[in-house]
């Protein structure tokens, strides 16, 4: 039931973000890893009142876990793991539970080559679900991309601004915005809610993709700035001139000038030779 629910949510989220962006999801594929047939996945615990869990990643149909993360507490986001494209399942068990025990929660995720995903435990403990988010891997040249995950249970509705740019308005608990393009730089993120505000300074460099996660802190709200991906802020134009040709084998030159020289030489020698001979004959005759 749970995994189906999460799956449907995933489908709807994917469909919505594709509509919002007006581009097919495939447009964010990263071709170099696509060539290698790999994609990326990271795992997160973003359910405020759910105790720490062990998170398992399985290649679909294989009961031996590829990756196990132990004692993953609320607010934890793993680094990305590079994996072969294909179908996987993610399971959560209570921290310390046997690997063979029935998971509390599981979901399946299809990893496409060149794409990156975040699988996060989201919502309140009573309605915990594993949500699959597709993460972006492109920026317009010289720009940054950023989205917001609202994972605060204490302040269930928040507004988030970056400087004067609105990143999220009335974003409800356990929801995620689409990525939006912002100018690079260091700016103040302000999270405002009926229960108070939180401010944090974040640096979003050109050519980077970020997810800001709003969390319940020890007191008040916290903002965690995740770097989803990073590249060259100013991609160089075209190819690179890194050779002068000193190791290039030189092919045989044209034989034509040499053949012409031999021909001319032969003509000259022949003419000279004939004249010499005729001269001798004339002498002999006299």
């Amino acid at each position: 039931m749970n995994s189906w629910g999460a799956y449907r949510k995933l489908f709807m989220l994917g469909a919505t973000s594709a509509l919002l962006l007006g581009i097919p999801a495939a447009a964010t594929a990263h071709a170099s890893s696509a060539t290698a047939g790999t994609g990326w996945i990271r795992l997160a615990h973003l359910s405020p009142n759910t105790p720490a869990v062990d998170v398992y990643l399985y290649s679909f149909g294989n009961s031996n876990a590829m990756i196990v993360l132990h004692h993953v507490a609320y607010g934890t986001v793993s680094p990305y793991e590079s994996v072969q494209a294909g179908d996987y399942s993610v399971a959560m068990r209570a921290a310390g539970a046997s690997a063979s025990s029935q998971p509390v929660l599981s979901t399946s995720v299809t990893i496409a080559a060149g794409h990156a995903y975040t699988v996060a435990g989201m919502g309140p403990e009573s309605g915990l679900r594993l949500q699959v988010l597709e993460d972006e891997l492109t920026t317009p040249p010289g720009q940054a991309r950023v989205r917001v995950i609202q994972a605060s249970l204490k302040q269930q509705v928040v507004n988030v601004t970056l400087g004067s740019t609105v990143l999220a308005s009335n974003l409800k608990f356990a929801n995620v915005t689409s990525y939006q393009t912002v100018s690079p730089g260091t700016e103040t993120v302000t999270v405002s809610s009926s229960g108070g505000n939180a401010k944090s300074s974040v640096t979003l460099a050109a050519g980077t993709v970020h997810t800001l996660v709003v969390l319940d802190g020890a007191s008040g709200l916290e903002v965690v700035n995740l770097e989803d991906a990073s590249g060259s802020g100013k991609p160089p134009l075209g190819g690179v001139s890194t050779g002068f040709g000193g190791t290039v084998p030189h092919g045989p030159g044209s034989p034509v000038p040499w053949l012409v020289a031999i021909g001319a030489g032969s003509l000259l020698a022949l003419t000279g030779g004939l004249r010499l001979r005729r001269g001798r004959q004339l002498h002999a005759g006299v």
Binding site: L137, S230, G231, K234, P235, V240, W258, A261, G272, H283
Partner: protein
């Protein structure tokens, strides 16, 4: 006519010399000059460098990594200081002024930080091999090490090697964002256009940091 004899003899002699010269030239040009080869492969293999290997950063609050200073690729005998490279006025990637050192593009992430770090080196100079002459010999799984200014070391493994025509260079693949610590090594390759003095292609080695 005795006056004609010296002229005829001279013509014969010059003709024979020209024939000899032409034949020699013809024979010489039939042999193509071989490409300059660096020292034998066996001699060039280097030991892996030593230093504390630092795990790739967590995506949340990653520690900043130090600037790269040294690149080692044991399999192909590369050990080079890294110079820093920016962009030319035309927006193209600068290349090292020496063909015997490689350079890191400072507009790309630092090697070992999240993202696609870019290191560039020459395949050759006008007279012989450059620092990345043997880059095309690398294959998936081969090791690459980058030492940083603080003495830490990051190890990469080659994931793929590609050759692209320069006029179809895949900017997004090479320079675009990636979610894990990766490295791109770039040099020239493919056919050499003697008319322009440039290679027509770039060779790009893709590598990922070992966790």
């Amino acid at each position: 006519m005795p006056t004609r004899r010296p002229a005829a003899a001279l013509a014969l002699a010059v003709g024979l010399v020209v024939i000899a010269g032409g034949t020699a030239g013809l024979l010489l040009t039939r042999h193509s000059t071989p490409a300059m080869r660096p020292v034998a492969a066996g001699v060039a293999a280097l030991p892996a460098p030593t230093g504390p290997i630092v795990a790739p950063p967590q995506s949340a609050a990653p520690k900043p990594v130090a600037s790269p200073v040294l690149l080692t690729i044991p399999l192909i005998g590369v050990q080079t200081q890294l110079v820093t490279l920016g962009l030319t006025a035309a927006g193209e990637l600068q290349v090292p002024s020496s063909t015997s050192v490689a350079g890191w593009y400072t507009g790309s992430p630092r090697p070992g930080a999240i993202g696609s770090a870019v290191i560039v080196g020459h395949i050759d100079s006008l007279s012989g091999p450059g620092v990345f002459y043997r880059l095309s010999e690398l294959a998936a799984g081969d090791k690459i090490y980058v030492k940083r200014a603080d003495g830490t070391l990051v190890e990469f493994r080659v994931t793929s090697i590609q050759t692209y025509l320069k006029d179809r260079f895949p900017t997004e693949d090479v320079y675009g964002p990636v979610p894990d610590p990766e490295l791109r090594l770039i040099t020239c390759g493919g056919a050499f256009d003697a008319a322009t003095g440039h290679y027509l292609s770039n060779i790009v080695v893709y590598a990922t940091a070992v966790s």
